[in-house]
């Protein structure tokens, strides 16, 4: 296994120097055409690879034109309701780029991607990224490097707003599919498809429901402890939650304030205690961030406030275990980051090997997780989405550990 990979890697390196990144498009296209003719995947990709070494850069323009026709073929296949099963083929070189490497959920997502790579007989993607989740320029650097390396696919959790548009577009121009996961590129520039963990509106619904469960029928005051004021994910979830709260079923729940702990433990503790002092009738802190929720729970624990003020939100079961046990955090939710990484890898692999195209209506089967479909993303003006879901809600009966 190992030696095979090594051999492949050597070959791949030599090839890569010759063809650079741009020639990847024809490879995908060729693979697609042949795949559509019903050829065996293994053989087709090899042929495609050989073809590209000679085809060189001249074909790039032609390739761009062929993409549409190849795409149409797949659309009709999908329209017929056949889900493409993504199967093992050639190894691909890929970059798995999280918001940052030092928050527990991202190594988890990478482990899912590694699992998928192993199933697909591919080398694991390179897990690289900035140390600090606020380091946008770090992500730009890694994106640019990946393009220079001519990788076959990039899996990205965007840690900024629109600042990654240009490097993502550069990747797309070089024929590298950019599959976003966890956090998309808002304008969808250069992005192939977004693998969404859950529907952002659903996040709002789930948080509102947990708040109602915890506060009971008579309702009460609660506050939100978020990450940073400019964190796109959190802002979208909070907005969705506020929309749900406007409904009549949630009239008893009063959102008194939203504060930010910058996804730093110390700041989050300070912010949580600030909430407690500013709002004497506060009964719940809702933290849609894994760093914030655990800091809030710890702050309530050490100040002996767990009896009066509960904590909920999005948290990692293993981090929240003691607070679930103590009753400080009776209920919280999250999706599986392992599954998210797994699915993102399957999608990226499928696109990179030409088994699927990033188009509305494409249906596919991703290993143990089953069937999914690429749709237009309803939460953005542009862009495509694969919706993973669902939420797991954790509580004393289901601590998740």
């Amino acid at each position: 296994m190992k030696t095979e990979h090594d051999r492949y890697e050597e070959e791949e390196e030599v090839k890569a120097i010759k063809r650079r990144s741009r020639v990847f498009v024809p490879m995908v296209v060729l693979a697609l055409i042949i795949a559509a003719c019903g050829g065996d995947t293994d053989d087709t990709t090899t042929t495609a690879g050989e073809a590209t070494t000679t085809a060189a850069e001249a074909t790039t323009t032609v390739a761009a034109e062929t993409t549409t026709s190849a795409g149409e073929t797949t659309t009709s296949a999908a329209a017929a309701g056949e889900a493409v099963e993504i199967t093992a083929g050639d190894s691909i070189a890929a970059t798995f780029l999280p918001k940052c490497t030092n928050i527990a959920v991202f190594p988890q997502a990478n482990s899912g991607a590694e699992e998928a790579a192993a199933e697909l007989g591919s080398d694991p993607a390179e897990f690289v990224g900035p140390a600090d989740c606020g380091d946008t320029t770090g992500q730009i650097e890694f994106m640019t490097n990946a393009v220079t390396q001519g990788v076959d696919a990039i899996m990205l959790s965007n840690n900024s707003g629109d600042q990654l548009d240009a490097p993502a577009q550069a990747a797309a121009d070089a024929g590298i599919p950019v599959v976003t996961w966890d956090s998309p590129i808002p304008s969808a520039t250069g992005e192939s498809v977004f693998v969404a963990q859950v529907d952002f509106d659903e996040t709002g619904q789930v948080m509102a429901d947990m708040a109602r469960n915890i506060l009971g029928d008579d309702g009460g005051q609660f506050a939100i402890l978020s990450a940073t004021p400019d964190a796109a994910n959190q802002n979208a979830w909070i907005a969705a939650m506020e929309e749900v709260l406007a409904g009549p079923d949630y009239a008893n729940l009063e959102l008194v304030e939203t504060v930010y702990g910058n996804d730093v433990a110390e700041d989050s503790v300070t912010a949580a205690l600030g909430l407690v002092d500013s709002h004497p009738d506060l009964e719940l802190i809702m933290a849609p961030t894994t760093v914030g929720i655990v800091a809030a729970a710890q702050a309530m624990t050490q100040e002996g406030l767990c009896e009066t003020i509960k904590v909920s939100g999005l948290g990692l079961p293993e981090e929240m275990a003691p607070y679930v046990e103590s009753g400080c955090a009776p209920e919280f939710a999250l999706w599986s980051f392992v599954d998210l990484g797994y699915l993102a890898y399957y999608v990226a692999y499928g696109i990179a090997t030409g088994q699927i195209t990033a188009e509305e209506g494409t249906a596919f089967v991703a290993g143990r997780m089953g069937e999914y479909e690429i749709t237009a993303d309803p939460t953005r003006d542009a862009g495509l989405r694969v919706l993973m879901g669902p939420f797991s809600v954790y509580n004393a009966e289901n601590p998740g550990t």
């Binding site: 690289v128 140390a131 606020g134 320029t137 490097n145 900024s160 707003g161 600042q163 004021p229």
Partner: protein, 328 residues
């Protein structure tokens, strides 16, 4: 050659380190030796290295400016806010953004020279305060969709294969080199850095020189912030956060004494090339961000320590000479 090396110990060491870095990079990654990659390597850090030039002056002068990254963010935020307001021509918004940077530098410079406060303290407050001001202006918004010509300044290769910002850097560097090492002003900067008292006694208008440096530092940081906006096509309140440590690291690695009075532009340029090449090479070898930073930290210590120890044990000379800095 030998004479040059003896006179420019620090620069010689950096040349060796840089050469070693390039050799290692070539062996680590087949993608390193591409022209596009070399342009990228500068382009990805262009804002930092532009500020490095002016920070060299500030530190040689015996001061420090910790606020540069925050001023970058503040200037860009002012520009973005004006642009969003839509009442001013965009070019004017850019000029105002740079001017705001200069004013930020002027304010800090005035506090430093009038009250005699250490620049570290004043610019530390500036670091917190100007970042805060940027956040006040933009809150949680991200301002983008700038005119195409503006984004092309940062993103496209306008002149030959080089982005405009890169050309700006090289022009600025040449200018700074001449000013620092060939002009009366440059000599004053060194004299003040060596001893502000001596400078005062010899009739140098110390406060005025310092003030001019802080204003320039602010203006250049403002310009860098705006170039940053052009490169990434969007401005957030957090733009450039924590850049100050990277910038200062490059200057110090260049052999500029933190106590002022010594250091050379050549050393700083070599240090800057070295850091950029290390980051790029490690990045292409798929080594993550935190490890890159660690390697640069190690290099920073090692580049001073190793020659010190070598000098001490091999030549058994007194320590005073072992800590060799650039030309006075």
């Amino acid at each position: 050659m030998r004479d040059w090396a003896a006179k420019h110990r620090w620069e010689s060491i950096l040349i060796i380190v840089l050469a070693a870095t390039i050799v290692v990079n070539v062996s680590l990654s087949p993608f390193y030796l591409g022209f596009g990659n070399f342009v990228n390597l500068f382009w990805l850090s262009i804002e930092k290295i532009i500020v490095v030039i002016v920070m060299t002056f500030v530190i040689i002068n015996g001061e420090i400016d910790l606020s540069v990254a925050s001023v970058m963010g503040f200037s860009a935020a002012v520009m973005a806010t004006l642009y969003q307001g839509g009442e001013l021509p965009f070019a004017l918004a850019i000029l105002i953004g740079i001017a705001v940077g200069a004013i930020a530098g002027l304010l800090q410079g005035l506090v430093i020279t009038r009250f005699g406060l250490p620049s570290l303290v004043v610019t530390l407050a500036g670091l917190i305060g100007f970042r805060g001001a940027a956040r006040v202006l933009l809150e949680d918004r991200s301002v983008g969709d700038f005119p195409e010509w503006f984004e092309s300044i940062g993103q496209q290769t306008l002149v030959g294969p080089f982005p405009v910002a890169l050309l700006l850097f090289f022009v600025g560097l040449a200018l700074a080199w001449v000013i620092l090492e060939r002009s009366a002003f440059g000599r004053k900067v060194y004299v003040i850095g060596n001893s502000a008292d001596v400078a005062r006694f010899s009739g140098i208008e110390v406060d005025s020189v310092k003030l001019r440096l802080f204003v320039t530092s602010g203006a250049v940081a403002g310009l860098a912030g705006i170039l940053f906006a052009a490169r990434v096509g969007a401005v957030q309140g957090t733009l450039g956060e924590t850049y100050e440590l990277d910038i200062i690291t490059m200057v110090l690695l260049g052999g500029v004494s933190i106590f002022g009075g010594s250091g050379s532009m050549l050393g700083v340029v070599l240090a800057l090339f070295t850091v950029l090449n290390i980051r790029n090479g490690l990045g292409l070898a798929n080594i993550d961000g935190i490890t890159q930073t660690g390697v640069i930290g190690l290099l920073l210590i090692g580049s001073v320590l190793v020659p010190n120890l070598a000098q001490r044990y091999r030549l058994r000379r007194p320590r005073a000479e072992a800590v060799a800095h650039g030309p006075p």
